[in-house]
Amino acid sequence: MQQTFVQPEFRVKIDYDKCHKCGRCVQQCGWGVYEFNERPIPHDEKCRACHRCVTYCPAHCITIEKNTLAFRDNDNWSVDARTSVWRQAETGGVLLTSMGNPKPYERIFDKLVLDACQVTNPSIDPLREPMELRTYLGRKPDAVSVIPDPEGGFMLAEDAGVSRNIKLDVPIIFAPMSYGSVSLNVHKSIAMATQRLGTMMNTGEGGMHEDLFPYQDNIILQVASGRFGLDPDVLGRAAVLEIKIGQGAKPGIGGHLPGEKIDRDVSATRMVPQGSDAISPAPHHDIYSIEDLRQLIYALKEATGYKPVGVKIAAVHNVAAIASGIVRAGADYIYLDGFRGGTGAAPQVIRDHIGIPVEIALAVVDQRLRDEGIRNQASIIAAGSIRSSADAAKAIALGADAVAIGTATLLALGCHLCQSCHTGKCSWGITTQKPELTRRIDPDWGAERLTNLVHAWSHELQEILGALGVNAVESLRGSRERLRAIGLDEQTCRVLGVKPAGL
């Protein structure tokens, strides 16, 4: 066999003096790094630095190090670039990777800071005073009518045009990740957490497994170009339908769930043949225009008694004009997925070089819809690397009604961002269908961790709102005056509608 030029990225070091020779590492590793011959012997080239073995080694005797192999310095030809050429020269293949864009593009969230009240306005202590995180997704009427209430005040007239809105107790929802790309136990963990949190999850394009039916009131069912897992029964169960046009990690391209991941259960849920590649075409072949999108939105509404229908797009160059069309097509919300959004599998060249940051997309879409007087007709969900409650608060200030978290969700369940979801061998049991691996996630345990995460972020959001002197998350929405930029150029500040710090 020809010798590969690609050297291992990591070195697995075992302190054999401490090692119990118990074989736990052999059993824990999904990548097959360890061979056992009286003691565990690592094969470095298979290591993904996912730390599963490190975490579960009872003797704490494993460390993973970067392979410090020296290369001749060359700023232009990075080691990554050289490695990619070798790999492609060996295989002739499109380089496939997973999770979000890791390249060092400017991170705008990290250059935005929030305001706080000092002296002239009192800040609010959320531990003592009510602080509302509840928000509603969906079309709001141009005007509301009120009727007298029994106490001599006023209340909203019945319906008031908001009856079909989706109530979220927190402005954080779980991002679409399909059954097939993640395991059923991941879906169950998320589903259980949504009910505890009063928020929503999104099935992704792989359909809704019957085990999720008890959680259907908290489920957004995705309709993607492959039309997987859709029939009148499932459409009738989901609370919300979402047309997936694009994904931040791979704008403009489709996807292939490899045949080996399509077992009987995934086949039945997706309604596709077992063992064949499940192909999502790049476009929906019944959507070649905004008029066609309107047609699908109304087809879904007609088929479901007028449930809310959202549209998910990747953030791309003309996103503001596209979003305007989507709202005019009748969408109840727009889901903007920035170029750092995650994926279960994408060509590296697409993930790392196509699309724009969600911060920019959010700001221009919110502004465009306001300028056109149609901002009330649809909500905006921002996603594509919301890493903390601070990112969530900044996204809301830039114009989002709510944010969606995908990568953070998986991190909470054990993901270590090893970017190998596409291999289907996830040692943490997240992005795999192998029963010996998927059973590593207990849905009760997963739901608790996700509930903890969102509770923690919610408390932090309340603190941020209190500091800003507002008592409801909806008061922060689109309030860019409460943001300032540090170190962003003038043009970017103008696009964001944010002043530089000091002004």
Partner: protein, 277 residues
């Protein structure tokens, strides 16, 4: 007269249709709905309410492009007759309903359909049977572009789509399962080839039968073409007999000319496209 649903906006004129409930003449478990000039929301709402109220046979007259007739219906044993030109997305997401179109149908017939039988006694437009995963669609005449794209089969669900006329480009693209049949018999234009380009492009499951023959330029890169053998004709005959009965043709005449069988060369067309990082 059936009352309009509360979800329907107040009466007005939209896209040339009136937002009013159609006139209904109900006789036991049969009903005639006059859709002349009525907007699709009011029309479809009325049809759904009639079916919920026990009507098994719905005849819709005066249809002129109203969309979504039968969309999302799960009503086994119910028969809908459409008189006129059915609009886009007829029977989209439907499961189990039987629809007879006495006229032409526009785009998206049987889009993402799960079950049921649709017979169109005229021509049908583009994206016919897109993502269909069960049921049958029979068309007497010509069909448009991107027909049968991404049809798929699973478990006992095997969709069947038979087109009596000719098809444009991308017939059976991305097909993952089920059966497509193209007869080329009731075509409007003798000079048009039976199928356009990219027939079965990206196909990775299912089978396409074409009456007569296809040229290599018409076929996608992922398929093989062979004469339909005896075992294949045995699979095809009951389908053709059902089609002929539904459309009013002679099954023996249809089968008097040999057919070619187009099938994918791999169920994993992209297995070797990628190099894992």
């Amino acid at each position: 007269m059936v009352k309009a649903a509360t979800s329907v906006p107040p009466a007005g004129v939209i896209e040339g249709y009136r937002q009013v409930a159609p006139l209904v003449d109900r006789d036991g478990d049969a009903a005639v709905v006059d859709s002349t000039g009525v907007y699709f929301q009011q029309l479809n709402d009325t049809v759904r309410r009639l079916i919920d109220a026990g009507v098994r046979d719905v005849r819709i007259t005066g249809v002129n492009g109203q969309r979504y007739i039968g969309a999302g219906l799960r009503a086994p044993g119910v028969r809908i007759t459409v008189e006129g030109t059915a609009g886009n997305d007829l029977a989209m997401f439907a499961d189990g309903v039987s629809i007879d179109v006495r006229g032409n149908a526009q785009d998206g017939v049987g889009n993402t359909m799960t079950g049921g039988t649709i017979a169109v006694h005229g021509d049908a437009g583009d994206v016919l049977g897109y993502g269909m995963r069960g049921g049958k669609v029979f068309v007497r005449g010509d069909v448009g572009y991107r027909v049968g794209i991404h049809m798929k089969a699973y478990e006992k669900h095997v969709p069947v789509l038979v087109c009596g006329g000719k098809a444009r480009d991308f017939f059976g693209e991305y097909m993952a399962g089920g059966m497509l049949v193209l007869l080329g018999m009731n075509a409007r234009d003798e000079s048009q080839p039976i199928a356009g380009s990219f027939l079965g492009g990206g196909m990775h499951g299912g089978v396409i039968y074409v009456r007569g023959r296809v040229e290599p330029w018409q076929c996608g890169a992922e398929v093989g073409v062979a004469e339909a053998g005896e075992v294949h004709m045995a699979e095809l005959r009951p389908v053709i007999e059902e089609y002929a009965a539904a459309i009013g043709m002679d099954a023996d005449e249809i089968l008097s000319v040999s057919l070619v069988r187009i099938s994918p060369m791999s169920h994993r067309p992209y297995a070797k496209l990628y190099a894992s990082m």
